[in-house]
């Protein structure tokens, strides 16, 4: 039977730290910590060889952990002094905490950092924006991916407004061949990330609303936030039967098996679908609410890389990070991992048509990051956790949009005092 869970957990972390210690780096070699174990192949076969063409003497080992364990394992290794030289940075507070503990170095002095806009760097800066501690690598864009065959069969086209969107969903529901909208609430974050944060920016005007929320000038009980909740609540009739128990993997399978028409998507899904789906796919940005003209997309800065302050080989680590700022790296990365979009200012040609469509929205719509990520998820209760919880409940019909806004704002008010 299961015994002393605490001890087991402690032992696991210790074991991880020990394993990492055995493989600690020597001079001339670099080890990369990352949660992208899905991409290990691409790092080993494409990215690192491309780097080695210029710097044949620097040996690089890509050593990823499972995404769920990454933060805990990385912290244990950093505390134990056994972490790799290069640290893949989660956005915002997780990495900020590492910088504050002097476990990450600043990267402002690196060549090529001026190749990134302030928005691109925001996720890896101190609150005052003065110091950047990770080199931005990529962002992910939210939107809707659809089955082109299903659209042709039912005779509908990409909806531009929410009204059209609902008309399309209604048509699919009447037709009955496809699940109109693929999204589940079992894992909760789908409803928050691909629901609320996906269609929401149009309501709260992207970065402006996000900044107002942080400044305390807007509240989550304001009409624009409640309206976003109302919108996702109205999706319930169009979701697959038993969506309350539909996990993220279920959603991916449902769509890639051709049983769904529209998939509430993050661009990171593209590579999964490329491997599995046999039909043509298209993508459209979140449809506009009535009466709005500007469009906003969730273009969320997600991944970056910094230098372990305790690294013994910082010279080579800097060379690698400087190479990450080049268009050469951006092109390789964007095309090896369609759906992860480079953040450098130099435009990059993306071959994958769905990925190209999504990154093309940057030209017509304004980019914003998820509003719960910066500063607002620092206290207890944690806003992002709360957002997952209430978004899933709103879609499940267990919580009204008004009550959802109230619960979030009440939670925030308990610890967050905006700077006056």
């Amino acid at each position: 039977m299961r015994r002393t869970f605490k001890a087991a957990m402690g032992a696991e972390v210790a074991a991880l730290a020990l394993l990492a210690g055995l493989a600690s780096a020597q001079a001339g070699s670099l080890k990369i910590e990352s949660w992208r174990n899905d991409d290990a192949d691409i790092w080993n076969s494409k990215i690192i060889p491309a780097f080695n063409k210029q710097y044949p003497d620097i040996k690089i080992e890509f050593a990823p952990s499972a995404p769920k364990e990454y933060n805990a394992a990385l912290n244990a290794r950093l505390d134990g002094g056994t972490a790799g030289d290069l640290i893949t940075c989660r956005p915002f507070d997780a990495s900020l905490a590492l910088y504050q503990k002097h476990q990450l170095d600043g990267v402002d002095g690196l060549k090529g950092m001026d190749n990134f806009s302030d928005v691109a760097k925001a996720a890896w800066q101190t609150d005052d924006g003065k110091t950047t501690f990770c080199v931005p690598i990529a962002s992910v864009i939210a939107g809707f991916i659809y089955n082109k065959e299903a659209f042709a069969k039912v005779g509908v086209s990409e909806p531009k407004t929410l009204e059209e969107f609902h008309a399309v969903l209604e048509k699919f529901k009447k037709d009955g061949t496809y699940v109109p909208l693929v999204m589940g609430t079992a894992d909760q974050w789908e409803a928050a990330t691909m629901g609320f944060q996906n269609v929401g920016p149009d309501y709260w005007k992207g970065e402006a609303g996000r900044a107002n929320l942080i400044a305390g000038k807007e509240k989550l009980t304001d009409p624009q936030y409640v309206a976003a909740f109302k919108e996702i609540a109205s999706w319930a009739p169009y979701l697959g039967s038993g969506f309350q128990a539909q996990t993220y993997a279920d959603s991916q399978n449902l769509f890639s098996l051709g049983k769904g028409a529209i998939y509430a998507a993050g661009s990171w899904d593209i590579s999964t679908f490329r491997g599995q789906a046999k039909f043509a796919m298209g993508a459209f940005p979140p449809p506009q609410p009535a009466g709005t003209t500007d469009c906003y997309i969730s273009d969320h800065t997600d991944i970056a890389m910094g230098i372990n302050a305790a690294s013994k080989n910082k010279e080579d680590a800097k060379k690698f990070l400087e190479w990450l700022t080049t268009p050469e790296f951006a092109t390789i990365y964007a095309n090896a991992l369609p759906g992860f979009f480079p953040l450098a200012k130099t435009p990059v040609k993306v071959e994958d048509d769905v990925a190209a469509t999504m990154v093309g929205w940057r030209q017509t719509c304004k980019s914003t990051i998820r509003n719960s990520y910066q500063i607002l998820s620092r206290g207890t209760p944690n806003l992002e956790n709360e957002l997952w919880n209430v978004s899933a409940q709103v879609v499940n019909g267990k919580l009204t949009p008004d009550a959802a806004g109230k619960q979030l704002q009440d939670g925030l008010d308990k610890w967050y005092k905006p700077a006056k």
Binding site: K6, D187, Q244, W388
Partner: protein
């Protein structure tokens, strides 16, 4: 007649006896101290500290416990997890253990064929990885492609099907039953072993007196295995209040919907290791772990003083 052990040790030189004791007990004590006692004490020590942003730790006494039990932000999820844990435990006590006893009773019937086969099959789920159990049941119960809805429809009960794992009202009980399915082999084996220990003469005498299988089980066998049943109950209690893996593998660390499946293990995990944007808080997490330890300790003490002492043991 061989010499009794106490005589041998009494005649032994002190140093030699100490050496022997060290030889036999030393490794176990060392390993147990290193992997069980030390982590426990270290956890308790850590729970009296707090950390600041630069990574420094400061002693705060019992402040973490005050926050955990006194501040509604912490105490609400904590008591929610505790309540869910009680339900989780109750389902195991009311379903797992009676079924375990019944299966053991059936297995110990004289003349039952394929005993070994049944025993193995019923014990198999216990040996499966929790991740596999969670994954399989997720699939079985899936409203999209699970066999559960089809099976219910086949017998005309299709309307009873619901996405049980996703509903606030049923998710926790469903998960508890999955856990019951997985672990029912343990009470079965323990009680089966106890049943085998009952001397045949007792059973034969009862049969001569005219009792059937059913009454023999209830009036003869069951009272004789009561000590084992209470042991099983305690093991269930400890395992349930340390449970974590099944919930985590099926529902994730946020134990949805609306924390309906959050038990102390997942609450601890979220606190200690964090979740998505929530940063891990090792000191507060240690406080949660310490409280969990005391909950289990209190439960065990109650058992020892109220139950264990009153149990009559029978020597055959």
């Amino acid at each position: 007649m061989p010499e009794s052990v106490s005589n041998i040790t009494a005649q032994m030189p002190r140093a030699k006896l100490a050496g022997l004791l060290l030889f036999f007990l030393g490794p176990a004590v060392a390993i147990y101290s290193l992997f069980s006692i030390y982590p426990l004490v270290a956890t308790m020590a850590l729970s009296t500290y707090t950390s600041d942003p630069s990574g420094g730790r400061h002693f705060v006494g019992l402040a973490n416990f005050q926050t955990l039990l006194g501040d509604a932000l912490w105490s609400k999820p904590f008591w929610n997890a505790f309540g869910n844990n009680l339900i989780f435990f109750a389902v195991h006590m009311c379903v797992q253990n009676p079924i375990g006893i019944a299966l053991a009773g059936l297995l110990s019937l004289p003349g039952l064929r394929l005993k070994g086969f049944y025993r193995t099959v019923m014990f198999l789920p216990t040996m499966l990885s929790v991740v596999i159990v969670g994954f399989s049941w997720n699939l079985i119960l899936s409203p999209l492609w699970g066999v559960a809805s089809g099976a219910l429809k086949a017998v005309g009960l299709g309307s009873l099907f619901a996405p049980w794992l996703g509903l606030e009202s049923s998710a926790l009980v469903t998960l508890s039953l999955i856990s019951v399915w997985q672990f029912v082999g343990i009470p079965m084996m323990l009680i089966y072993a106890a049943l085998l220990n009952i001397p045949d003469e007792l059973i034969d005498a009862a049969r001569v007196d005219g009792l059937g299988h059913f009454r023999i089980f209830f009036h003869i066998k069951l009272p004789l295995v009561l000590p084992t049943i209470s042991l099983v109950s305690v093991l269930t209690f400890v395992a349930n209040f340390n449970a974590f893996d099944l919930i985590y593998s099926v529902k994730g660390a946020l134990a949805g919907p609306n924390f309906a499946t959050d038990i102390l293990g997942t609450f601890f995990y979220r606190t200690f290791f964090g979740n998505q944007l929530q940063l891990g808080n090792p000191t507060m997490g240690s406080a949660v772990a310490t409280v969990m330890f005391f909950i289990i300790l209190v439960g065990l003490c109650l058992y020892l003083f109220l139950v264990q002492r009153r149990i009559r043991r029978f020597a055959f």
